[in-house]
């Protein structure tokens, strides 16, 4: 049954060095408070799986030395420019990048969700992505003639980690139309979720809410973290803190600037009780 924990700190306490951790794109709900907890705990050697792209949370984890490998269709701060710690780490070779493309990451998670070893996918053939991914295989489509098609392996994260607007006391989590979060939960061994609020109202008893709900069966643990996505926004609930993110984008241009940001905004921040 879903554990209800007291803080993002506790929630992520079991995420081990070397784990593969899937995180969603920023518009779907980033568990930034939990990501800061991972940084404070000095977790190392994570494989970060961006679903299908990542921004601030990836750059922060990479800059703080928590990440060994990234699988992503893109890593970028979006309107605030490129992701400086990601770019530096890839160029320096301190982080291994496994370049993918958005639908391939979605399909890999769907393969894990369905318990099949691979999914076929159109496109991609002849790109340098395919050239460099030795885990992608091309076969002849048995339903066609002279019709090569790519197979992608299932992506089964050890942990999925994200932030959602609300949960109920049974551990059901409402995600609305952000259904890649549901797919992540289905596909992952463990799913850890911070939420704006845990409510007494059951999410499964109202059919309108149920349609956008991840059942507690797939949710290992939840913790309340009001404004837990900040400084990234939670669409429909609060906007991003633009000046914070702009300042990060500037500071993180250098390792020293990044360290200053980390000391001020992450390490110094008191862990919630």
């Amino acid at each position: 049954m879903t554990s209800i924990l007291a803080s993002a700190e506790e929630l992520t306490g079991g995420v081990c060095c070397g784990a593969s951790v899937a995180v969603p794109r920023e518009a779907s709900g980033c568990a930034m408070e939990a990501v800061r907890a991972l940084v404070r705990r000095r977790v190392r050697d994570l494989t970060l799986i961006a679903v299908p792209q990542a921004g601030f949370q990836a750059d922060l984890l990479i800059g703080a030395g928590c990440v060994r490998q990234v699988e992503a269709a893109a890593v970028t701060l979006g309107e605030h420019g490129s992701a400086p710690r990601f770019r530096a780490a890839v160029s320096a070779g301190t982080v291994e990048i496994r370049d993918s493309t958005c639908p391939a990451i979605h399909a890999g998670l769907q393969a894990a969700e369905k318990g099949v070893p691979f999914m076929p996918m159109r496109g991609i053939l002849g790109s340098d992505l395919a050239l460099h991914r030795d885990d992608w295989h091309t076969i002849e489509n048995p339903y066609g003639e002279n019709d090569p098609i790519l197979l992608l392996p299932a992506i089964t994260p050890d942990v999925s980690l994200f932030h959602a607007p609300r949960a109920d006391r049974e551990g059901n989590v409402w995600v609305g139309v952000n259904r890649e979060l549901l797919t992540m939960a289905h596909a992952s061994r463990e799913t850890l979720v911070t939420v704006e609020a845990i409510s007494d109202e059951s999410l499964t008893s109202d059919v309108r809410l149920a349609a956008g709900t991840i059942p507690s069966l797939y949710v290992s643990a939840i913790a309340e973290a009001p404004r837990g996505a900040a400084p990234v926004g939670l669409p429909g609930y609060y906007d991003e803190d633009t000046s914070h993110l702009r300042r990060y984008a500037e500071l993180a241009q250098t390792e020293e600037g990044f360290d200053r940001y980390l000391a001020e905004q992450v390490i110094a921040a008191p862990a919630p009780a």
Partner: protein, 245 residues
């Protein structure tokens, strides 16, 4: 005499022209000019065109998570899409990954996003290059995020139809695998374009001057298009379309 227009308005007008007849146009994130062009085309289509702007709550109707855009394209329900490239070469290969040898790119970019997929599946892909220079338009990209053409046998209902830059419009001949200059923007000569382009291209029989937006187009751009862009691109709507050129 035509009205004064901003360069962005010219590009949006060009984009709108390339979208004629499309039933469903999708626009990626952080693409104000394609978005504006698509919204202009929609205004002219009198209810026969849908436009999905990713990253906009009001202009995206998807309800099946991040995969829906890609599934939708594979179903043949997206007629046109836009891609750009840190590098684009003369075979319409695009590079969104990095400069130098892979994987430790000397200059690393964000990554390929959905390009390696959508370039194969969307019939009308319009390439957009905001900086027409030999740095961007190269002979051969350093990394192929998505190839411009594919050998026979590869399933590929989609691909590039045009490349729109701040200097001109190229068409793309899929059979020949190369660009040809369709029109030069006002003030641009063929010679100057050749000088700034790192790849070989052919010339259309008659290279036209790019049609500039007329009064009706400018009124739409500064009126209903601007309003529709407010949510996803507030700054762009305000600063580019919010005042006369």
């Amino acid at each position: 005499m035509s009205e004064a227009y901003r360069p962005e308005e010219l590009l949006m007008s060009v984009v709108a022209g390339l979208l004629e007849g499309a039933r469903h146009v999708a626009v990626g994130a952080i693409s104000p000019i394609p978005a504006g062009g698509a919204l202009l085309a929609r205004e002219r289509a009198a209810g026969r065109m849908r436009v999905s702007i990713l990253g906009s709550e009001r202009h995206t109707f998807f309800t099946d998570g991040g995969r829906e855009l890609f599934d939708c394209a594979a179903q043949g329900r997206i007629d046109a899409f836009f891609l750009d490239g840190a590098q684009i070469d003369g075979s319409a290969n695009i590079n969104l990954v990095g400069i130098g040898s892979y994987p430790r790119s000397r200059v690393r970019f964000a990554g390929s996003f959905g390009s390696a997929y959508l370039y194969f599946l969307v019939p009308r892909v319009i390439l957009v290059a905001h900086e027409h220079s030999r740095r961007t338009l190269v002979d051969r990209v350093d990394f192929v995020s998505a190839p411009g053409t594919s050998p026979p046998g590869v399933y590929r209902p989609g691909g590039p139809v045009a490349l729109v830059t701040d200097r001109c419009v190229f068409g793309f001949d899929r059979a020949a695998g190369r660009f040809s200059l369709s029109s030069a923007h006002p003030g641009q000569s063929v010679g100057a374009i050749r000088d700034k382009t790192g790849f070989e291209f052919t010339l259309d029989d008659a290279v036209a001057t790019t049609a500039v937006p007329g009064a009706a187009a400018l009124a739409l751009l500064r009126g209903s298009v601007r309003e529709a862009l407010q949510e996803a691109y507030p700054e762009f709507a305000e600063h580019v379309l919010g005042q006369a050129a």
